[in-house]
Symmetry: C2
Subunit: 329 residues, 2 copies
């Protein structure tokens, strides 16, 4: 019989290895945190038990979503925020679910150097997450990664995602505070409005604000926001300027994030958001479980059979899908 530690939740038994990873992560050991995150990305059989153990304490860390089109300077802003939060005494985790992020290896030299400042600081943990191919997707994996960083004592977790793509934007929108970044002169205000990313913004950040056209972009954004109806007492997203390379505006941005946090607490919106987020997390995990069942053994053969019938014109898509769903049950 395999030795192990039961977690009493019906999520199975953790091996001693997993159990010692959890202890290591709680003690803030970088290597153990990294290995736990890899386990979660791989979706192994011990993940439910590990997460159950970590969840017992609830999540105390605040999460900040950072999103925007490629080229607006997300990684530079993230690096500058890490620096400012460290100066304020916070321990900071960074999850980069942007496949084109420098944190995932394809760094512009400048960004890499800026992040290297933090490389030897054990109050900072930076991790890129694969955004493709997981069952349940980012919507299921990211909250679990946040639970690991929370358990490891990081008080703020920055979640960087590219602001293009349905799943990517949803992940940033699920944070306590969502920053949407733009840069001047990219005609970005209207594009962002159309792509629906302005509506997820708690704070709008015009980065590279030392460049020509910054004033016009700020005006454009304020104009769009003025047209948006909000409930009385609702949060009015500020439009801030940063030049993250030099650090200009980053302290003000941090203050604004704090202010939004206070608003979340006293308005009750923080509780509502956590409930919506929990709902989305459960739904994403449930759909991941259902998808796994669709792809498993007998179900996978049925899926192949109906797919062949569909390709050959012997059935239609909805009948095929309904068959697969019925046989799942």
């Amino acid at each position: 019989m395999k030795e192990g530690v039961s977690d009493h939740t019906g999520n199975g038994v953790m091996s001693r290895d997993a159990s010692s990873l959890v202890d290591g992560a709680r003690a803030g050991r970088v290597r153990d945190i990294g290995r736990l995150l890899s386990l979660i990305e791989d979706g192994g059989p011990e993940v439910p038990a590990i997460i159950a153990t970590l969840s017992a304490e609830g999540v105390r860390a605040r999460t900040i979503g950072i999103t925007g089109s490629p080229g607006v300077g997300k990684s530079t802003v993230t690096a500058a925020l890490v620096g400012e939060l460290r100066r304020r005494g916070e321990r900071v985790g960074v999850l980069a679910v942007d496949p084109s992020s420098p944190f995932s290896g394809g760094a512009l030299l400048g960004d890499r150097i800026r992040m290297q400042e933090h490389a030897t600081d054990d109050g900072v943990f930076i991790r890129s997450m694969a955004s493709r191919g997981q069952l349940g997707g980012m919507a299921a994996t990211t909250p679990q990664a946040v639970r690991v960083l929370d358990a490891a004592g990081f008080s703020t977790v920055l979640i960087e995602t590219v602001g293009v793509g349905q799943s990517e934007v949803d992940v940033a929108a699920a944070a306590d505070t969502s920053l949407v970044l733009l840069a001047p002169g990219m005609g970005d205000g209207i594009q962002a409005a159309k792509a629906g990313i302005l509506e997820i913004a708690d704070i709008l950040v015009v980065n590279k604000a030392d460049r020509e056209g910054a004033d016009a972009t700020v005006r454009e954004l304020r104009g769009i926001l003025a047209l948006t109806e909000r409930p009385a007492g609702g949060w009015e997203p500020p439009v801030l300027r940063t030049a993250a390379v030099s650090g200009d505006g980053i302290a003000v941005l941090c203050d604004s994030i704090d202010e939004h946090g206070r608003w979340l607490a006293h308005s009750g919106e923080g509780d509502d958001r956590r409930l919506r987020r929990a709902r989305e997390e459960v739904e994403a995990l449930a759909l991941g479980m259902l998808r796994r069942r669709l792809r498993d053994g007998a179900s996978s053969e049925r899926l192949d059979r109906v797919a062949r019938a569909l390709r050959d014109g012997r059935t239609d898509p909805y009948t095929a899908a309904a068959t697969v769903v019925a046989e799942l049950e």
Copy 2:
């Protein structure tokens, strides 16, 4: 009793209205095609019956995915391809699932004018599809939209998606032939390789090839491709150059798409791809149905209940999700 036409597939009964839309679309009436696509996007109760009727004939149209980062000129290449395919006597449908695409309204003036050339041509149908918020997502909606355009007699359907984001790339990858577009001087080769979009390319297109740096980008891509192992007799993705604004290279690109089509047919890969695509279509629709059930009535209340327990630390994520899945059955 509501009058209607049964489709004998168990997908319900079509109203006379839906039935006349289907007839109109088959006759190529633009307004009816547009209304059918709206019905599909909205996911109304008549959609399964409509799709079943359209599916009876199978899909004959070839589909071409066009993807790449914002700014590489996807829409310009799409417009130029439409022109060339028209000259070759094809009827062409365009589905733009890119939220930042000019076809969805946020056009750069030049692109809008280029597409207007086609606006009065009834051999061209252009439609932007919402990429957010649908149950089952783009992976479920796009194949149904292709079925509509196929039934309306379009021989080629171009599917334009932004090459960032998991769902977006998957949709382009599901086409018969997938084009991945890059532009010189964006450091794009390595980034694209990292983001995993090169691996879905049947044809790589360096657009804006009249700009400085085009040779270097072509060399970089050929270098990356040379490192990729392929089975003997497999398709070797060519690296082509276009300057879509002037039309340079577009005829060669069309020839290359045709050549890939012939390879699909004689290698048997075309059949395999259609099977994989059917499988993905069925899976996406099945997951959409399951998600709808999770969100319906009693199930939605259960989801709220466990989400509240999760937020308040009274359960853990996987136990919560397993509860919801178990109660679904």
